[in-house]
């Protein structure tokens, strides 16, 4: 109901305002252009959120001070704490970072927003900013038409900045002209009542504009034109800081539980900081005067003093909160818990796929990649059990002949049950999520997504082949015929070796190591294919196995070969970097079947 009347009310108020005042129209147009600039700027930065996203995040957020610095720097560059909040929520949703790291980024982002006030107060209001806007818009548009994703993104950033500057110019002009007709300062309210009233206005303005940055720029423009008092501007700034949390809350609605916790942390932090600021407003004002004096800012330069206030109040909030980050994480984790009502407790479900990750193609891909690794992890367990081997033994440094000699269990594990519990659900969720993600992706991203879907299919095929293989494997590894027993144990050993190699490739961070390990696995698969290398012919020719055994061995070696091929193809996709600048390099340099033949011939 509220939603239905909200938009028409805003439209009606704006229309009435435009009708009675052309200057209000100029100011509103300035705000609209400014917000459009922010959208363009965000679009540009989204183009750069791919690539080595995970590595950058892991390196920049492993300590609290690094998370805070990361939040500060990214917000200062992108000039949008809302974008940083939404990105952080999607990073958490995709499992790229944890809640404590996310809170660190949000704390840093809060300080980062102060750079906007400094830029506006120190530069935007003093020079004819529109002179810079025009060339930026022209060059930006040329770059937007380029094919390269990076250059296109840079074009959006340049155009975004151009629109920001143009928006500021119109806001300034509007308030200057407004001054001659209406004196808004006459509506100023003093004392505690004024403080609370303007905090409320600041909250509402920020919720409507979905940007505290735009609100602060608007406050500064009005303050510079003398349309609001310094005291009321301070209250509006506090209000803007509360209003900005609404964007994060809206962003978190579609996120997983950690995203919701982060939005709650953002809200708690900003509200508590605002309450403290209200309680000690006089002391903060005194502190602002002291700092301004030491920086050589004139006592009547209210715009720069507002920038000082904005910085002081936000830095103060962060300093107060730093010692409580761990407690806040604990509090949020114990209060906000995941609902399990829809999920079967016995079945495994997707860990990293949630709606918030869909917004950014690179994050969506990162989430799918992580989920694919999760699926492979489950498949590894099933394949190991299907081979009657212990998973921990496979990934250890133990001799594989010893590992094969030590069975996991005396009776065969039911792979169907495992498949239904640990593969089917997750695979379905990945396919569903991929379909949704694809609609927002450029052809480059779709190509990567296509390969990830192939990797998922390879995993499922490998599990299905294991099921087929298991029946005879269980029978013949207990057979009295030592030849057939030896062959089936060889199959177990070869597959265990492959699983070990893939595990090592997955753990390695060196691209060359991954390439060499997977190439060796490919070579190994071809070399020990018992149909191709003549072992089976030899067994039949010398009557060492029965016809039934030979047929089973032939079919099962085909299954084993299929498992190996599928797992190697999967590993080549998920353990090599596909979205970096070295795009497709690993694929181009991978050894082919012809290369394998050449190597095998040399070895003979």
């Amino acid at each position: 109901m509220l939603k239905k009347i909200f938009l028409p009310t805003i439209f009606a108020i704006l229309a009435y305002g435009f009708w009675i005042s052309p200057d209000f129209k100029t100011i509103s147009a300035g705000v609209a252009i400014f917000l459009f600039g922010m959208i363009s700027l965000e679009e540009g930065f989204r183009s750069f959120s791919g690539g080595a996203l995970e590595r950058v995040l892991q390196k920049s957020t492993d300590k609290l001070y690094k998370s805070i610095s990361f939040g500060f720097v990214t917000t200062a560059i992108m000039q949008s704490s809302s974008l940083v909040s939404v990105l952080t929520i999607s990073f958490i949703g995709a499992g790229l970072i944890g809640l404590a790291q996310g809170i660190g980024i949000i704390l840093g982002a809060n300080i980062g927003t102060t750079t906007g006030a400094w830029l506006m107060a120190g530069f935007g209001l003093k020079v004819k900013i529109s002179a810079y806007a025009m060339p930026m818009l022209v060059f930006g548009m040329i770059l937007i038409f380029q094919k390269s994703k990076g250059i296109k993104g840079f074009g959006y950033i340049l155009t975004g900045l151009g629109f920001l500057f143009l928006g500021i110019h119109y806001m300034k002009e509007g308030f200057e002209a407004f001054k001659s007709t209406v004196d808004l300062a006459s509506f100023a309210v003093d004392g505690f009542r004024g403080l609370m009233l303007f905090i409320g206005i600041g909250i509402v303005a920020t919720v409507i504009m979905q940007s505290s940055h735009a609100t602060i720029v608007l406050i500064l423009a009005a303050l510079a034109a003398g349309q609001i008092t310094y005291e009321n501007a301070l209250a509006l700034t506090i209000g803007a800081n509360i209003g900005t949390t609404i964007t994060a809350i809206i962003g978190s609605l579609s996120s997983n539980i950690d995203g919701k916790r982060l939005a709650a942390a953002h809200f708690i932090f900003n509200v508590i900081t605002a309450v403290i600021a209200v309680l000690i407003i006089r002391q903060i004002e005194y502190g602002v005067d002291m700092i301004s004096q030491s920086l050589g800012i004139a006592n009547d330069n209210h715009t720069l003093k507002l920038a000082v206030f904005d910085s002081l109040f936000k830095v103060m909030g962060v300093i107060i909160f730093i010692p409580f980050v761990d407690k806040l994480v604990y509090f949020l984790e114990s209060r906000l818990k995941e609902s399990h009502t829809k999920k079967m407790p016995s079945s495994d479900h997707a860990k990293y796929l949630n709606e918030s990750s869909l917004e950014i193609p690179a994050t969506a891909l990162a989430a799918i990649k992580r989920e694919t690794i999760h699926l492979y992890d489950n498949a590894f367990e099933i394949i190991a059990h299907g081979l009657n081997l212990k998973r921990s033994n496979i990934v250890s440094d133990r001799d594989l002949d010893e590992v094969v000699a030590e069975p996991y269990t005396q009776s065969a594990v039911d792979i169907d049950t495992f498949y239904n519990r640990k593969i089917k659900g997750i695979y379905g969720e990945i396919i569903d999520f991929s379909t949704k993600a694809q609609s927002q992706m450029s052809p480059g991203y779709i190509e990567v997504l296509y390969h990830l879907k192939l990797a998922n299919r390879d995993i499922v095929e490998a599990v299905k082949d294991t099921k087929h293989l298991q029946k005879n494997l269980d029978k013949y590894t207990k057979s009295d015929n030592e030849h057939i027993r030896k062959q089936y144990n060889m199959i177990r050993r070869d597959l265990a070796e492959l699983l070990r190699t893939i595990d090592r490739a997955g753990r390695s961070e060196e691209e060359d190591t991954v390439m060499v390990l997977l190439s060796k696995a490919k070579l190994h698969t071809e070399k020990y294919d018992i149909i191709a290398n003549g072992t089976l012919d030899n067994l039949i020719r010398h009557n060492l196995v029965t016809i039934e055994m030979a047929t089973s061995l032939m079919n099962d070696s085909t299954y084993a070969y299929g498992i190996s091929k599928n797992l190697i193809a999967m590993a080549e996709i998920i353990f090599t970097e596909r979205s970096s600048e070295a795009d497709s390099l690993s694929e181009e340099m991978a050894i082919t079947d012809e290369d394998i033949d050449v190597i095998l011939e040399k070895g003979q």
């Binding site: 040329i142 390269s148 990076g150 060359d512 050894i591 070895g603």
Partner: protein, 81 residues
């Protein structure tokens, strides 16, 4: 207009932006593979068993092939320029 855009592209070197980063990544990878090749050669001198020797030889062949492929891609990238 198109002519103007093209001249801006070539002045700023925007056309080769993607190729340059690919070249850089490839050079780093080739360097790593070359040092791996040297390492295998060194290991071959001190190898104990025949099985180990065969495995190292196989790995050496793989690395050689990948270096060869990498160089071929690099030459192609330079040829485009």
């Amino acid at each position: 207009m198109k002519k103007f855009i093209r001249s801006v592209q070539s002045t700023l070197g925007l056309e080769e932006f993607d190729q340059e980063s690919k070249k850089k990544a490839l050079k780093v990878l080739l360097k790593k593979l070359s040092s791996r090749k040297k390492g295998i050669h060194a290991s071959l001198k001190t190898v104990g068993s025949k099985k180990e020797e065969n495995e190292l030889k196989e790995e050496l062949e793989i690395v050689k092939l990948q270096i060869k492929k990498g160089k071929k891609i690099l030459y192609k990238l330079y040829a485009k320029k």
